[in-house]
C-alpha cells in the first residue's frame, strides 16, 4: 500500500510529466534560444554562445516595445469587454434560467463546435464591404456606400476577439455564481435590502473571483494573439504576436523571436501579479 508520499507521487507525476514535457521543456528551449547570439533557425554555423544580444536589440528597438505595450492595452480592453459582456449571461444562467439553465448552457457552448478559424473568418465576411454590418448600416440609411475600412482595423480585432471569448468568459463567472449560497440573498432581503442592493452587496462580491479568473483567462492569451490580427486586423491591427511569428517564419530569426516571446511572458506575468495585488486577491477569495 502506498504511503502518503507515495500516493502524492503517484497522483502528481503523470500530470507534472505531461506539463513538463509539453510546456516546461518547450519554454526552456525558447529561453535557451533567447540567450543565443546571432540569428537563424536550427543549425547555425556558429556554436551556441550565451549572450544577451537579442534582449539588447529588443530594448534598442522602440517600435517593438511600443507594440508590446499596445498589445497589452488591447488585451486589457478585450478582457474587460469580454468579462462585462459575459457577466449578464452568467447571471441569467445562474439566477434566472431555472430548469432550462442546462439547455442555455449547451447553447452557449455551441460555438465551440465550430472551428476557431471559421468563427474569425465569419467576422471577416461580416465586416467586409458587402458584409452584414455594412448591409445593416445601408438598410438603416446610415451610410450611402459601404464603409471599406470596417475590416482591417484594430477595432475589428477587438470586436472579433471579444466575440470569440464571450462563451469561454461566461463559464468561470457562472461557476462562481453557482457557488453563492442562496440563503445569503434571502438573509439580505430579510434585512431590507432591495434587488439592486442585494446584487451589488452580495452577488457581485461573491462572484468577483469568477470575474477575475475570466479577466485573466482572456487577458493572458490575448496579449500574444496573432491569428485574429492576421485575418481581420490588416496593417492597422498588427499585434506583438504577429512580429514574434514573423521572426520565427518570415525572418527565420529564432533567437530574437524567442527573446521577444520571453519578454512578453515576463511582462504578462508582471501585469497579472500587479493586477492580483491591486485587487487584493486574498481578501476577495475570503
Amino acid at each position: 500500500m502506498l504511503g502518503r508520499r507515495g500516493t502524492l507521487r503517484f497522483l502528481v507525476t503523470p500530470p507534472v510529466a505531461w506539463l513538463a514535457l509539453f510546456f516546461i521543456v518547450p519554454l526552456a528551449l525558447i529561453a535557451a534560444f533567447s540567450l543565443r547570439a546571432g540569428s537563424g533557425a536550427v543549425g547555425p554555423d556558429e556554436p551556441w554562445l550565451a549572450s544577451v544580444d537579442q534582449y539588447a536589440e529588443l530594448a534598442g528597438t522602440p517600435a517593438f516595445l511600443r507594440l508590446l505595450g499596445l498589445s497589452v492595452l488591447v488585451a486589457i480592453g478585450v478582457a474587460v469587454l469580454a468579462t462585462l459582456l459575459a457577466y449578464p449571461i452568467a447571471y441569467f444562467l445562474a439566477f434566472r434560467a431555472g430548469r432550462r439553465a442546462s439547455l442555455y448552457l449547451t447553447l452557449l457552448l455551441v460555438p465551440f463546435a465550430v472551428s476557431y478559424l471559421l468563427r474569425v473568418m465569419a467576422w471577416k465576411l461580416m465586416l467586409g464591404p458587402e458584409g452584414g454590418v455594412n448591409s445593416l448600416l445601408s438598410f438603416l440609411g446610415l451610410t450611402d456606400e459601404p464603409i471599406q475600412l470596417l475590416l482591417y482595423s484594430r477595432p475589428a480585432v477587438i470586436i472579433t476577439l471579444v466575440y470569440v471569448w464571450i462563451p469561454f468568459a461566461a463559464l468561470p463567472i457562472y461557476a462562481a455564481m453557482q457557488r453563492i449560497d442562496r440563503h445569503q440573498l434571502e438573509a439580505a432581503a430579510d434585512l431590507g435590502a432591495g434587488p439592486w442592493s442585494r446584487f451589488w452587496r452580495v452577488t457581485v462580491p461573491l462572484s468577483l473571483p469568477g470575474a477575475l479568473v475570466t479577466f485573466f483567462m482572456v487577458f493572458i492569451p490575448t496579449v500574444g494573439e496573432y491569428v485574429t490580427p492576421a485575418l481581420v486586423g490588416g496593417t492597422d491591427g498588427i499585434m506583438y504576436g504577429n512580429i514574434i511569428q514573423g521572426f520565427f517564419t518570415r525572418s527565420a530569426n529564432w533567437p530574437l523571436g524567442s527573446a521577444m516571446a520571453m519578454t512578453m511572458l515576463v511582462l504578462t506575468l508582471a501585469v497579472v501579479l500587479v493586477g492580483l495585488r491591486a485587487v487584493n486577491l486574498r481578501r476577495v477569495l475570503s
Binding site: L29, W48, G128, Q148, T235, R250
Partner: protein
Amino acid sequence: MRLPYPARFLTVLMIIGFVLAACATQSGDGSPGESTAESAAGTSAPAPSAAAEEPNELLVLEWGGYEAEEFWTDFKSAHPDTDVTFEFGDTDANILAQMQGGSQADIFHFYTGWQQFYVDEGLVQEIDTSKLTNWDKVPAEYQELGQIDGKQYFVPWDWGFTSILYNTEQVDEVTSWDALFNEDYAGHISMWNDGPGAVAVSSYINGWDETALTDDQLAQIEQDWIDQKPLNAFYWSGEYTDLCPAVQDGTIWVAYAWQGCYATALAAGDPVAYANPEEGRNSWVGLYGISADSDSPELALEFLDQKLAETSCANAVTLFYYGCANGDVMSSIDDPVLIEAFGLDDPSILESTNFTPLVTEEQREAWTAMWERVQAN
C-alpha cells in the same frame, strides 16, 4: 534546503531542455559544404529500382495554390497510388526557415536569389539530370539557374513577373511602382508581406542597385515603408487566400502581385490590369530542390521530372498564367492574352525587366529584420 519532489522533477526537466537546446544548435556546427558533399555523395549512384523500394509517399513544401493537382497532373497519372501531401510557406525566408527547422519535406519550392543558402547549409542534394526524361526541354539558361559550383542542385520550373495589379475602374493607368505609395488609394493598397520584396520595389523606384545598398539607403527604404504602412488595407501573405479575394471584391485597388492573381481576376471578368512600370517589372524563376534528408529521393526526382512534362507545364501556363521551364510548351503559345501576359509580343520586355539577384545572408537578415520593424511601427 531540500526542494519538494515536483520542484526537483521540474528542475531536472528544465535542465534537460537547456541541454537539448544546446545540443540541437551545436549539431549544425559544421563547415558549410561539408554536409552538402555528404548528401551529394549519398545519392550519386542509386540503384535502378530505388524508387520502388522507397516509401510511396512524398511531402512537398510548397506555396499556397501550387498544391492544385493541375500543377502535377502528369505525376498523378503515372503514380496514382503515391500519397502526395503538401505543407506551405508564404515567403522565401519562410520556406528556408522551415527547411532549416527540420521540415520533413522531400521536395521544396523556392525562388531565384536563395539558391546558395540551401547548398551552403547542406539542405539539398545534388540532382542526377540523366534521370530526368524532360530535362532536354529545359533551356540551358534555366538549367544554369539551378547550378551551384557547376553542380545541378535545383530543377527550374515556373517563372513569371512581379508587378502592380490594379483595378482599372478605380485607378488611372499605373506606370510606376510608386503607385504603391500613392495616398489617393489609401486603404485600398496591399503590399506583399516580405522584406526582400519591399527592398526590391524601393530600389527600382530610387534607381538603386539592391545588392549594393548603403546603410543610409536601407534606412531610407525602411522609413518609406513605415510611411506607406497606413496606406495598406493589409499586407498579403497568400496570393489566392488573401490577395485575390480582396482584389475581386473591390477592397484592393493597387497591389504588389504575381501573374496568378491577375489571371484569376481576369478570368472572372474583373476590371484589372497588370502594369508595365517604367522602372521595369521584376522577374523570377521558381526552383525545386530535393531535401538532403529525403527518404524518397528517386520518387522525388520522378515527381520533378513529371512536373516538367507537357500537361503539367501547359496547365501552369494556361490556367495560372505562369511561365514554365518546358521550352516546347512556351514556344507553342498562340493565345493573344497569354502572349500579352508574358510579354512575348514585346521584344524589349527582357531589357526592361529586373531579374531577382542572388542575395547574401547579411542582406537577407537585414532586409527581413527591417520588414519586421516596419510592421511594428
